[in-house]
Amino acid sequence: MSAETAVTPPLARPAPNEDAAPWRRVPLVTVGGVLLLGVLVPILLERLEIGDYLVTLLILFFMQAVVAQSWNLIMGYGGIYSFAQVALFAVGGWTTGVLAHSLGWNPFLSVLFAPVLATAAALLIGLPTLRLRGTYVVLLTLAFHELARVFAINGPRFISGGGYGLVTVATFPLGDAVGAQRNTYLYYLALAVFGLATFVIWRVIHSPLGAAATALRDSETYAVSRGVNQFRVRLILFATSAFFTGLAGGYMTHYEGGISTSVFDLSRLIDLLAMIVIGGWGTFGGPILGAAIVIGLDQVLVGIGDYRALAEGLIVAVIAVFAPRGLWPIIRDAYDRYLGPEPPREAAGDPPAETDDRGGPTGTGVTEGGG
Amino acid sequence: MLEVRGLAAGYAGSEVLHGVDLTVGEGEGVVVLGPNGHGKTTLLRAITGLVSVRAGQVILAGQDITRWRPDVIAAGGLVHIPQGDLLFPDMTVRENLLMGAYSGPTWAERRTRLGRVYRLFPWLEERAGQLARTLSGGERRMLALGRGLMARARIMLIDEPSLGLAPVVTEQIYANIRTIKEGGMSLLLADENANHVAGLADRVYLLEAGLLVREGPAGELLQDEALLESYLG
């Protein structure tokens, strides 16, 4: 997908430096190692008493991280201030819930429709909205959130379940043979979803599309003058984001055996926002890190209860103003400085690594070296 | 009146002025000549606080105003007529002028000053209710000058008064500035063109690449065709 038209006359293009390719930047060893770890973790945790609980926590982490990454894709990278994320999660969840509950479909089948409908909803919102400027996107997505919420509560019975949501949805039928290992298999399913989402988002960010998106975010007029199709880029990002958010919603519905209207609570929204803001706005690793931190802290600070939303709201506000880059860039810089490999000698010729500046319309794009 | 010592200033990532010294005496008309892009505007903006100063000092009537905020500097009597006028586009001529006297103590005082400016620029009074953005280039320039006069300035900094104006209008503008100077105002003018400043300059500095390379009495420097040719092209 080429998001840049050829403005320069056709010159003899220099041979691409394969070692500079994004997927080479993360050594295969690292990826393989992480995957292996991911696969082994439940087996290791089985031995612990709280192992099952930890696995559950990890599943929650995976799903939240997927949604956080998806939201970060459009807000942090795309500069699209959409507040429809939670509603799209709900669309996904309700789709599969209704198909499984009212039509009796097998959850493995119905869950496939969750991302489809979420994407469709996103396109429906996106088509009129994404052509307009930022303030309007905020308004229209907030409105969509509200509409979805009201519909979920007051809509026809098969959707609203009397105002409580869908409460008895079939869970993933893994069969009786699975027995006590059930959670482990659900874990692998969640890991697969997380892995897929992370991979796709990684690729999107490091593709010409991703570059076009950050160009648009940082300097719209310039990007457009270079031939970037603003609307198309944003729409694709929006659809991708909705796809995985819907998928996560679908998974969670069948994992928990239902979906309630509490998904629309502002506390869920601030959770996600906190993950992105604390972790690292507009960075790849940020939302994942943020998800881990928020979920981890929630476990540690058990007594916090009602104060959680209050604390998150304040923390988000403080970080947005005083430490807008979040934690990820700090950690990555530290890694580069102390543990990372030496940058190659001819540093001038290397393409920049991920941009993480979240500047507004007059922001300058800052690139970080290494990776 | 105004003293600048070793001023270094610039924008993110680049330094434009590398250490500039100049003075403007009371009632003096000082002109800084230099081609575009060499730092004239930056110099004026650094003096009035719109650009952060990296090194050096700016002293106004004995007070060190180097790190002061622009609005505080303006309240101190240093009025800057910026390049491009920077009028308030959706405010009327009269409102623009009144804003010039923001720091004035009372509305009566403001109206008095308004009267004085109207006497100097009678046509401004004719157009008092017109929105600033509907004015022509020359009218805007005069409004900017008038607005600057509304403050109780001790010294006026004027950035490229002839920018974007037709020759006839330019004559008028410089005549107006001459009148202002003759009223006793200290002036620091930044200009690209040596032709019009003869009548109001007492001393001239030549600015090149962020440094003042020559200084001298106006009579001397402005007559030196060869010198001007080589600097201004």
Binding site: L132, T135, L266, A317, V321, G363 | P89, D90, E95
Partner: protein, 294 residues
Amino acid sequence: MHNTQLVQAVWGGVLFGSVYGLMALGLTLAWGAVRLLNLAHGAIFIIGAYAAYWVVSSLHLTILVALPVGVLTAALFAALLHALFIRPVIGKPGFDNATLVATVGLSIAVSAAALLIFNPEYKVVPPVVPGASIVAGVQITNQGLLVIAASLALFAVVYLFLTYTRQGMAIRAVSQQREAASLMSIPVVRTYGVVITISGALAGVAGVLLSPFFFLNPSSGFNPMIQALIVTIFGGLGSVRGALVAGYVLGLFESFVEVYLGVAWALPGVFLLIIVMLIVRPNGLFGVGEVRRL
């Protein structure tokens, strides 16, 4: 029968319109002067309402005392918002981002705080002017009349303030050409603070005067926020006139739709109107073209 419907529609429209206008006024001022999209506007709204409630229920004072307390509390919160979260990023490239996220965060924090302090039960805030009369079969509440009067009065006050006072003109100057304003010795950052505080006070007034019409709870700020946003955009971001006119246009439209087509059609109808407006006149009724996004 027809008469009743018409009176109901008109009354509802004028009342809604006044409400919307009041909510939108603060928001449009903040945008116009500071380019701030204040998503904490709804939070300030409920701060005013809850403060008034507290004065009445805990201090057992009359609503007449609670009203100014509510307004002042709201204004104070707005001033703090400016000092702590807006001032640090003024003029920086990340301003839009930082303020958007920060105001969202604070909005939710305030809602959570209200939940903790006042619990989720619906609270009742007494009207300043109780009682009602029946006109052509329609209940005309005195509080409603007060809201309409207050809204129009505040619009007039704001207009006069912006047009004829030194501070008001300074606010306009800063919003049109910030650098030049500072060259006129106008303290830009402090002016921003003044505008945001005024904006907060207006939200506070709305909060105290409107809360008798609904049951106050921690999420009460959300809908007024959206409504204010709709009206502001419809009227043109930054236009005071726009907020006034748009408020009544939308209010009357919604009211007539509600009365003649049914409540269910009100919200979709309004959205349709918005979308039409955004297509036909993206800058709203009185908006000026924006070069900057958001």
